[in-house]
């Protein structure tokens, strides 16, 4: 298989829309972190990122720990949102459903890492900068879309078939969350025909600003 296939523009890379007039603070932070990472390189990455990157050396366990970190972030985000997002009605139920799913992902990933003989990463402390329901929804959309791209980026490197199956079954659920959150934001649930894939280092830089 040649890599030419990936050179097809619609499948390559991730769109970070800097032209959008509707940029939330979190997105600015996220873009700022990505830009800083690009300028300063590895020296700019914090201890958390360094630790997670070190994990990447250990194959499937490393990928699972990377996924676990993202699931920790999402689970903590939705847990806090139950009281902080000021949600009611359908959104309140959605937050509960999504939060429960993310907690199940944390549990399954932790258990799997242990059974593979690895050591699950510790849960970081998080800090989510947002105000009110609208701020919550914007950040939720960023997290879910990033989560999808993170799994899609990491999955082709997974060695064990069973781990790939599990990652696939989780990423589909993340995509479903992303679509539902996007509908709450009155945005296209599936904005593109091909979900972009993000490399691990970019995802870690993107989430770093939310690690307290």
């Amino acid at each position: 298989m040649s890599d030419q296939i990936l050179a097809q523009p619609e499948l390559a890379g991730v769109n970070i829309d800097t032209d959008s007039e509707d940029i939330s603070r979190s997105e600015v932070i996220l873009k700022g972190a990505l830009a800083a990472g690009a300028v300063y390189g590895a020296l700019a990455v914090g201890p958390f990122v360094g630790r997670a990157l070190a994990m990447a050396e250990s194959g499937d366990v490393g990928i699972l720990n990377f996924a676990l970190t993202l699931e920790y972030l999402e689970a903590a985000f939705y847990k806090e949102a139950k009281t902080r997002a000021k949600a009611s009605g359908d959104l309140k139920s959605l937050i509960e459903l999504v939060g429960r799913d993310e907690e199940e992902h944390v549990g399954a990933l932790t258990e799997t890492i242990k059974k593979l003989g690895g050591k699950p990463v510790a849960e970081p402390k998080f800090d989510f900068p947002y105000n009110g329901t609208a701020g919550f929804l914007k950040l939720a959309q960023t997290f879910e879309d990033t989560g999808v791209s993170a799994y899609n980026g990491a999955a082709p490197q997974i060695k064990a078939k069973e781990v790939l199956e599990a990652a696939g079954s989780i990423v589909q659920v993340e995509a479903r969350h992303a679509a539902a959150i996007r509908l709450q934001n009155k945005e296209e649930p599936a904005p593109e025909a091909f979900d972009p894939a993000l490399p691990e280092a970019k995802v870690l830089k993107a989430v770093e600003p939310f690690i307290a």
Partner: protein
């Protein structure tokens, strides 16, 4: 593919959300979580095997060998989805934002058709022919239910094949389509007032045999 003489299970259950969920549960086969945890048993050597079609059947052999067969299987499903949405747009059953959603999803399925056709050709294969299709378009509600069924099944179909794919580039492409099918499914489930994650926190895969059987009644030549 043979013409179905009797109404399929899928046709019968599309108007019944409960049995539809049951169908999806059945076609989903073993849960991914079970596979996930089974992967972590004491026989650690089994978790380091390489991926590929080598061992078992993928159920896509009728479409070609290896990755080409899987891509042609996916192409057939995408042709079906594209034709379905085109028929729905023509039916006049939808207006406004629902129609816009249907158009958008249809155009994304058409992009999948184009990309998959390109992949098959790049790999030296012959793209699967576009099947002739026919869909029951009776009411807006039944059409949305059928759309949700087709999308949930499509997402499960990609999930079922992903571990069989050999080429990393093909896998990356399949995954980038898989999650879009999952997004479509969740959006349609939302329109219907149903759970966005009918399988819970872990989506279930579907094997090619089950998927093909389910779509057979819509293929008329």
């Amino acid at each position: 593919m043979a013409v179905a003489n009797k109404p399929s299970a899928l046709e019968r259950v599309t108007s019944d959300p409960v049995s539809r969920r049951k169908l999806l549960a059945v076609t989903g086969g073993s849960t991914a979580l079970a596979a996930f945890l089974a992967a972590c048993g004491s026989d650690s050597s089994s978790t380091t095997t390489t991926m590929g079609n080598g061992g078992g059947k993928t159920g896509t052999e009728q479409f070609g060998k290896g990755d080409v067969g899987i891509l042609n299987y996916a192409l057939t499903l995408e042709y079906l989805e594209t034709a379905f949405y085109a028929d729905v747009v023509k039916s006049g059953l939808f207006k406004g934002s629902d129609l816009a959603t249907i158009r958008k999803f249809g155009s994304e399925e058409a992009e999948h058709v184009t990309a998959l056709t390109g992949f098959v050709k790049q790999m030296g294969g012959t793209p699967a022919p576009k099947p002739k299709t026919e869909f029951p378009l009776k009411s807006a509600k039944s059409v949305l239910e059928l759309a949700a069924t087709v999308e949930n099944l499509g997402a499960a179909a990609y999930l079922g094949q992903a571990p069989n794919i050999k080429g990393a580039s093909v896998l990356a492409a399949a995954l980038s389509i898989h999650s879009v099918e999952g997004r479509h499914a969740a959006a349609l489930n939302t329109l219907l007032g149903e759970s966005i994650t009918p399988d819970g926190a872990f989506a279930k895969p579907a094997g090619a045999d089950e998927v093909l059987k389910s779509v057979e009644p819509f293929i008329v030549g």
